[in-house]
């Protein structure tokens, strides 16, 4: 067996642009998924039952069906139904954000419910309104509990963007596919993108570590 990486270097710009798209999609979907997920978690702990039911149904649908199927419905199905067409990135952002929100909302719900009841009572007794209480008192404490789970979600998201290749978005995996077609080499391009994914995940973990230390700074500071 002989390894020949020259094809990878020759078509390096493919991989470079693919990596950029992978990162971009991850970042955008993480942000939207996070914001939507927080909102959805608040929906789930609301006192109004129909909202709670909606939250539960939403989560069960997105958790109960494969992400790839969801992507196909959005990208190939919706245009037929609604007459609008989405670019591959639009479909990707929509699907991944909605999907990620379902998982993140569950993480947040658990984190919010783990915050001591006394914190709510102290905030209420000071006349602090619901919105300020959640934003400045409860959620910052919830985040400390759930940061590791959020990082896991971000890592999962980064890797899952690879299924965008299925609808033709030229992210990392698709870029490697193209190289295989042009060079007839399979092992090397896939090995290289695996390595690139791995490096990205390691960087993400390192950033998360620092973030975790920053969030927990009040435990150490004098």
């Amino acid at each position: 067996m002989k390894l020949d990486f020259s094809c990878v270097w020759q078509y390096w710009p493919f991989l470079y642009h693919g990596a950029i798209l992978t990162l971009k999609m991850t970042a955008i979907c993480a942000v939207f998924g996070f914001l939507l997920g927080v909102l959805l978690s608040l929906v789930k702990i609301s006192k109004w039952k129909p909202l709670v039911w909606f939250g539960r149904l939403y989560t069960s649908i997105f958790r109960g069906t494969p992400l790839l199927v969801q992507l196909c419905i959005v990208h190939f199905g919706l245009p037929q139904l609604l007459g609008v067409t989405f670019s591959t990135t639009q479909s990707g952002i929509l699907t991944f954000s909605l999907n990620s929100a379902a998982y993140i909302s569950e993480i947040f719900r658990g984190g919010i419910q783990a915050v001591d009841k006394g914190q709510y009572e102290a905030a209420q007794s000071l006349g602090i309104g619901y919105k300020d209480m959640m934003k400045d008192i409860i959620l910052p404490q919830a985040i400390r509990h759930i940061l590791p789970s959020l990082v896991n979600e971000a890592i999962a998201l980064l890797k899952e963007t690879s299924i965008l290749s299925y609808i033709g978005a030229v992210e990392l995996l698709r870029a490697a596919d193209q190289i295989t077609v042009m060079s007839f080499r399979f092992f090397e391009p896939y090995l290289v993108i695996a390595l690139i994914y791995y490096i990205f995940v390691m960087i993400l973990s390192a950033v998360a570590n620092r973030l975790e230390r920053w969030v927990n700074r009040s435990d150490r500071a004098a």
Binding site: S125, I137, A221
Partner: protein, 240 residues
């Protein structure tokens, strides 16, 4: 100032308050005493609507706050509450704990809020802890900060729910000293405590609660000297 009229509170099937009637005049310090589970804390929590009564009325300065159209936030910001477990916000420094509500709720400027906070830190003897996080404070220090945080809202009424019950014995005194000082300032106070000596010393009135009812309501001298009911006598024998 604070009036409870025939207040009932149920938690599910459990009837915790069974018709509470009492009145705290402006500037009075009233202590609620009784066995655990008697409903003392629930009475306190009905005053700032952390619990809403199942039946009956709570009046603050003549206004019935159990009406549905009551703005609960407005009521609460005028009533300070100190909890057994302090409930400081762990992710905020002492200064942030003390200025958050004045800034957000009372719309004070940063200078005003921080000035007031420093003043109160002086009162509780903890000026050097302004930038510390609660995790670095002892129990007694936490509770003194919690008192100062409640006072920073310049409330007309202060509620203390077993403020020393979670403290190590050697820290009880420093907290009671602060509360005592406060009692002399003319602020209206309702207090739940198991510190009998302290209750006797600071209270204008003692209410003895058992099984959801006020059984005695008298001066500390009378209550500790010659309790009227058998149950109060039995209780005092156990705790004194």
């Amino acid at each position: 100032m604070i009036e409870l009229r025939n207040v009932y509170k149920n938690f599910g099937k459990l009837e915790v308050l069974k018709g509470i009637n009492f009145l705290i005049e402006k500037g009075q310090v009233v202590t609620l005493i009784g066995p655990s589970g008697s409903g003392k804390s629930t009475i306190l929590r009905c005053i700032n609507l952390l619990e809403s009564p199942t039946k009956g009325q709570v009046l603050i300065e003549g206004k019935d706050i159990t009406q549905p159209k009551t703005d609960v936030q407005v009521i609460r910001k005028n009533i300070g509450m100190v909890f057994q477990h302090f409930n400081l916000f762990p992710h905020m420094t002492v200064m942030e704990n003390m200025t958050y509500a004045p800034l957000r709720v009372n719309k004070r400027t940063k200078e005003e809020a921080e000035g007031k906070a420093m003043e109160l830190l002086k009162l509780v003897g903890l000026t050097e802890k302004a930038n510390a996080y609660p995790g670095k404070l002892s129990g007694g220090q936490k509770q003194r900060i919690a008192i100062a945080r409640a006072l920073a809202m310049e409330p007309k009424i202060m509620l203390f729910d077993e403020p020393t019950s979670a403290l190590d014995p050697e820290m009880v005194k420093e907290v009671l000293e602060v509360i005592k000082e406060l009692a002399h300032t003319g602020i209206t106070m309702a207090l739940v405590t198991h510190e009998m000596g302290f209750a006797r010393e600071v209270s204008d009135r003692i209410c003895f609660i058992d099984e959801g009812l006020i059984l005695e309501d008298s001066t500390p001298e009378k209550f500790f000297g010659e309790p009227k009911t058998e149950r109060a006598r039995a209780f005092l024998e156990k705790v004194l």
